[in-house]
């Protein structure tokens, strides 16, 4: 896709080993199982498949699923950047503890998260009662789905950005400053391009995880057909009727949509990374950002 600077590739060892292992593992654990599922839908005729994929409730569920996932990933992208920045750069009491908390949404079973969030955001809940004064309903509306997804995907952006921000060397900023850049210019022109690939990665991960999420959402969504039904719920619904083919058909549709969206985001990311490294030919900022002595960048 991108012409390779072949002479540099030659120097480093381990390409075949790395790629070979990656492809083998990927094939065994992901491609064969997913392929099996796609093969299974082959038992359906095309018109049956199309009928299932474009049924009114299915279409509505795609809108809910992908819309809520996008919203949640966007919220997490914005706040995740701020959180990661604050956690790496600013000292404040209890920082280590807060830092450790960030991973919790993963450790907590999603069902517990869903039940707890629904209780918090219900009209008599700790948060819901205050929102109710403004006429805002969260639990059992599509907004509730977004809230659950924000919780479940919260660690991604923070955790992908943290190591990259930690690696930024002080000299980069100092140099920018000595050349007369304001702080905001340094941030948007020097720092942001450097962390952009990681940022986009975090967003992508949050977004894709949100698409598949089921356990937490069903407790807070309300699950009303056409309004707050997510696609994974429809899949379960089909399984409940022992319609395994129908369930796999929907799963394949989701898989294809996700695949295309992720591919676009990843292409965008490589394009951004390439543009970024070309924009300052010679000594790329990638090198400037490389960690020398590791401990220093950390406060």
């Amino acid at each position: 896709m991108f012409p390779a600077p072949a002479k540099r590739d030659g120097v480093l060892p381990g390409f075949r080993l790395g790629l070979g292992y990656t492809l083998t593992y990927l094939t065994l654990l992901v491609l064969i199982p997913l392929g099996g599922m796609i093969l299974m839908t082959g038992k359906l005729s095309w018109s049956d498949f199309w009928g299932i994929a474009t049924a009114e409730r299915a279409l509505a569920s795609y809108r809910v699923t992908f819309g809520a996932s996008l919203a949640a990933a966007a919220v997490n992208a914005l706040f995740g950047l701020i959180v990661a920045w604050v956690l790496v750069r600013y000292p404040f009491p209890g920082k280590r503890f807060v830092d450790a908390l960030v991973d919790l949404p993963f450790a907590l079973p999603t069902a517990v998260a869903g039940i707890t969030l629904a209780t918090l955001y219900a009209e008599n809940g700790w948060i819901g009662q205050h929102l109710a004064k403004f006429g805002i309903k969260v639990a059992f509306t599509p907004l509730g789905i977004v809230v659950a997804l924000i919780f479940v995907t919260l660690p991604f952006v923070v955790r992908t950005l943290q190591p990259v921000i930690e690696d930024i060397e002080a000299e980069v900023e100092e140099a920018a400053a000595s050349l007369g850049a304001t702080r905001w210019q340094t941030f948007t022109r020097v720092l942001l391009p450097g962390i952009f690939p990681a940022w986009l990665t975090g967003f992508t991960l949050a977004f894709s995880r949100a698409i598949g999420e089921f356990g937490s959402v069903i407790f807070i969504a309300g699950n009303m057909p056409l309004i707050s039904e997510i696609t994974p719920l429809l899949i379960i619904s089909k399984l409940e009727q022992y319609d395994i083919l129908g369930a796999t058909a929907l799963a394949v549709v989701m898989l294809l949509i996700s695949f295309v969206m992720l591919l676009v985001i990843n292409l965008l990311q490589w394009w951004a990374a390439n543009r970024h490294s070309k924009s300052s030919e010679g000594d790329a900022p990638a090198e400037a950002l490389a960690p020398g002595a590791l401990a220093e960048a950390r406060p």
Binding site: L12, G14, S208, A251, S258
Partner: protein
């Protein structure tokens, strides 16, 4: 003066950002967590403690830890290998490969379980053969490990790729040109450089491995005391109107997640000591010219 202005944000910006960050975390993270503990202790510490003394809860914890321990090395090996190939080399189809690595996240956990049923279930592609040879994959430990591997698939790789990309190839190339072997280069140069990213990736993968419900639920069989993981146990207790038991078990998972704190502190401490010792031996830090801001764009 200028330097000061541009290497650190003004005080009010710092305070504002810290406030926003903490406010966000409080609302979306701390408050739900408090609520979980609130439920778990609704009938007092005694009831909480008793709820955790259940033999089924213990076996569930053990199973959860077992699965996490089995999954961990696989995740390290795959993550590092994939990130190495993708971040350090240019080849065709790289975006496609990255997308395929991301894909398991977008697959609903239920479907992630289902695909292994389709393969290994009694009516599945390999079902007949497995039954004939009396090999159990699903509704037993191997199936649950597979499902967990699937849902934690991208973590380490995706954490490392942007980091390794940002770091570039120069240090490794220098090491190789100075005569280091592949593995020497890896352990002396690459690994120290990526350790934080690797650790974050592992912590995330580990948390997810312990907390995973949907996919494991499909392949577990829910046999009490045998194939129930802690998250599955939580669900069953909740469905049986044992709210205290369910939330108490959930707090255990949350506390296991907090192990992060300990691990990270220890690693940080040891690394600092190591770098202190290393910097004594190493040549002075490279002083390369930073990219000029002024020339980038007016």
């Amino acid at each position: 003066m200028n330097t000061r202005r541009a290497t650190a944000e003004p005080r009010w910006v710092r305070l504002l950002l810290t406030g926003v960050a903490l406010g966000f975390l409080f609302l979306f993270l701390v408050l739900p967590l408090i609520a979980v503990f609130w439920e778990a202790f609704a009938h007092g510490a005694q009831a909480y403690w008793e709820a955790l003394q259940d033999g089924e809860a213990h076996s569930a914890m053990l199973l959860t830890l077992t699965i996490a321990a089995v999954v961990l090395p696989f995740n390290i090996a795959f993550g590092v290998a994939a990130a190495w190939a993708i971040a350090k080399f240019e080849f065709r189809g790289k975006s496609l490969l990255t997308t395929l690595i991301d894909l398991p996240f977008a697959v609903s956990p239920v479907v992630a379980g289902l695909i292994f049923i389709i393969l290994f279930g009694a009516q599945g592609f390999f079902g007949q053969w497995l039954v004939a040879n009396d090999i159990k994959i699903i509704f037993a430990l191997p199936g649950m490990v597979l499902a967990t591997l699937f849902v934690t698939f991208p973590f380490v790789a995706r954490e490392l790729i942007p980091l390794m990309q940002a770091q570039g190839r120069d240090e490794e190339e220098a090491a190789v040109s100075l005569g280091a072997s592949g593995w020497q280069m890896f352990f002396r140069v690459t690994l120290p450089n990526i350790k934080w990213g690797l650790m974050y990736g592992l912590i995330l993968a580990n948390a997810r491995a312990m907390g995973e419900f949907g996919a494991v639920s499909v392949v577990s069989g829910h046999i009490r005391g045998e194939t129930n993981t802690l998250p599955l146990h939580v669900e069953i207790l909740y469905n049986e109107y044992n709210q205290i038991g369910a939330f108490a078990a959930a707090t255990v998972l949350a506390l296991l997640g907090l192990v992060t704190l300990v691990v990270k502190t220890i690693v940080e401490w040891r690394m600092r000591k190591e770098t202190e010792m290393l910097t004594a031996d190493l040549p002075p830090e490279k002083t390369e010219l930073p990219p000029s801001v002024a020339t980038e764009r007016p």
